[in-house]
């Protein structure tokens, strides 16, 4: 298994199906490869390539199908398939979303929002521990991109995540772009959000592109959609530097999942992340 140090040296990129053959052939320099395991569990041909690449690159497994916020419970058959894959590729990092996507037997193919209150905290905490126990490894929880909230919420997202960490000792994946999207859509300050997260729990960063869209309810206004279909925008780069100053260097992933560009474009984004990380860390004063 490749060590976490490799993943710290350079930003990682998402390994998406259109790029697999080129990555196998050219073996580009990147800190790690991130995969959505659901793309490989039903594709033995792609999984073969992934297993081969895992011998050279640290791998980050980022699931979209483990629904830790679902009252329907964790899909145990999916968890078993995931564990089988994890045993083969021995990832350095395993993570998922603070969201839900299943109801009964239905899989809704979206990361749906949760109210932040005692009931959802208890449920999510139980599921995080269940997943960690079953997989036999830490499960990082990613902050969501938000477009709406619930009147039944009794706490803010950062507080929810802090209490989740306290209850489960899990680690967090700080998606810096999601923090920008959520803050702008829900009307709070993104730097205050970063300041509210438990620093010792942050174990990974994500960066991805978002797409502005007109806010239909507010003519002239704008919503940000977490599209993963565009270059990373300046506010996300700025918040990334802010997050490094607060939390220190962490393995960083550049995500681009839709309108997938040439591999070299993705690698260029990762290089930019490296440059910002190096420049920021050089001037960082560690915080307690």
């Amino acid at each position: 298994m490749k060590s976490i140090q490799h993943a710290l040296d350079h930003a990682g990129i998402g390994l998406r199906l259109p790029h697999i053959a080129e990555v196998v052939a050219t073996r580009p320099r990147t800190g790690f490869l991130e995969v959505h395991p659901e793309n490989f569990l039903a594709n033995p041909h792609a999984a073969e390539f992934l297993i081969e690449l895992s011998r050279q690159y640290p791998i980050s497994v980022h699931t979209v199908g483990i629904s830790i916020g679902s009252t329907a419970g964790i899909d145990r058959s999916h968890l078993k398939r995931l564990r089988t894959l994890i045993e083969k590729i021995k990832p350095t990092l395993v993570s998922g979303h603070l969201a839900w996507s299943t109801y009964g037997n239905d899989y809704l193919n979206d990361l749906l929002p949760l109210p932040f209150n005692a009931e959802s905290l208890c449920l999510v905490a139980a599921h995080v521990m269940e997943v960690q126990d079953f997989l036999g490894c830490p499960y990082l929880v990613e902050n969501p991109s938000s477009y709406l909230g619930f009147l039944g919420s009794t706490m803010r997202e950062a507080e929810f995540l802090s209490q989740l960490v306290e209850k489960t000792e899990c680690k967090l994946l700080c998606d810096v772009s999601n923090a920008v999207v959520s803050a702008r859509n829900m009307g709070y300050d993104e730097q205050e959000y970063i300041d509210s997260l438990p620093a010792n729990a942050i174990a990974e960063f994500h960066l991805g592109g978002y797409t502005p869209q007109e806010d239909e309810a507010n003519p002239g206004g704008e919503l940000l959609i977490d599209s993963h279909a565009a270059p990373i925008a300046d506010p996300a780069w700025e918040l990334y530097a802010y997050a490094i100053r607060r939390f220190g260097l962490k393995p960083t992933l550049v995500e681009w999942d839709n309108n997938i560009p040439p591999l070299e474009t993705l690698l260029a984004e990762a290089t930019k992340a490296d440059q910002i990380a190096i420049a920021t860390e050089a001037h960082r004063v560690p915080t307690c």
Binding site: A42, H45, E48, P113, N218
Partner: protein, 254 residues
């Protein structure tokens, strides 16, 4: 039902059916949370329709983007995925498509879409090391009828009522002849795929019955009987030897 379970039930209903009247009063965000909810509703529909269109490009070529997109849009609200691996979603789409209004003008639509679905699934398979004739020769002749063969994971068989394999070849070769006529014809197809490639072969009826029986883990003797029922001249020895020579057999069970 707990408050959270009820919220999720209402959210599911809003996303899948569009009915949101009981959910919206529970939401916050912007001036009109219903508009924010529409982001999730649109993502559910758009992401799954896109996934389906990606799996049926040949069928889209055959019938047109509008027809398939409209059908896919209805499908995703009728058949919610039952697993997180969306690569496995769409198994029922050929049947659903062929029941749509307008499909009656393309009577071979189901056969063609089903062919496309199956080759798509097989092309991502990984083949296993095949066995050779030498392994089978270790079995006594009187034990052969009870022997069961396992076939490569990237094999399936399809019986269709139209020569849709010819139509698929047109699509794959980017061909557009001046005249192409589809007449009903019983066709028995063997589909093989692995590591990004696939092949479509025609079989005669006896071969088809023999090979589908083998795939279903029936013994060589059982499979031979089925084939001989339709063709007294069928030669089982040649048939199973052909399977092995073609690299299709991965293991033997006695």
């Amino acid at each position: 039902m707990s408050p959270l379970a009820e919220v999720q039930a209402l959210f599911r209903q809003a996303v899948v059916t569009g009915e949101k009247s009981r959910l919206v009063p529970l939401l916050s965000g912007g001036r009109y949370p219903a508009k924010r909810l529409a982001i999730h509703q649109r993502h559910y529909e758009t992401s799954l329709v896109t996934a389906l269109l990606g799996k049926f490009p040949a069928t889209t070529w055959l019938t047109g983007t509008r027809f398939v997109t409209e059908a896919a849009t209805r499908f995703v609200h009728n058949r919610v995925p039952q697993a997180p691996c969306i690569a496995e979603y769409g198994r029922e789409f050929p049947m659903f498509l062929s029941s749509c209004r307008g499909a009656v003008r393309v009577p071979y639509l189901y056969d063609f879409a089903e062919l496309e679905w199956q080759v798509g699934q097989l092309a991502i398979a990984v083949d296993e090391p095949p066995i050779g004739l030498a392994q089978l020769s270790t079995i006594a002749a009187d034990a052969l009828p009870e022997t069961i063969l396992a076939l490569q994971p990237g094999i399936s068989y399809l019986q269709v009522s139209w020569p849709v394999d010819e139509l698929m070849k047109l699509y794959l070769n980017d061909g557009a002849p001046e005249h192409f006529s589809m007449e009903p014809l019983d066709v028995w197809l063997e589909l093989r795929g692995a590591r990004g490639e696939f092949h479509i072969n025609r079989l005669n009826r006896a071969e088809y019955l023999f090979r589908t029986s083998i795939l279903a883990r029936r013994s060589i003797g059982d499979a031979a009987e089925r084939a001989l029922d339709v063709d007294a001249a069928f030669e089982p020895g040649h048939a199973w030897a052909a399977l092995i020579n073609e690299g299709l057999v991965t293991s033997i069970t006695r």
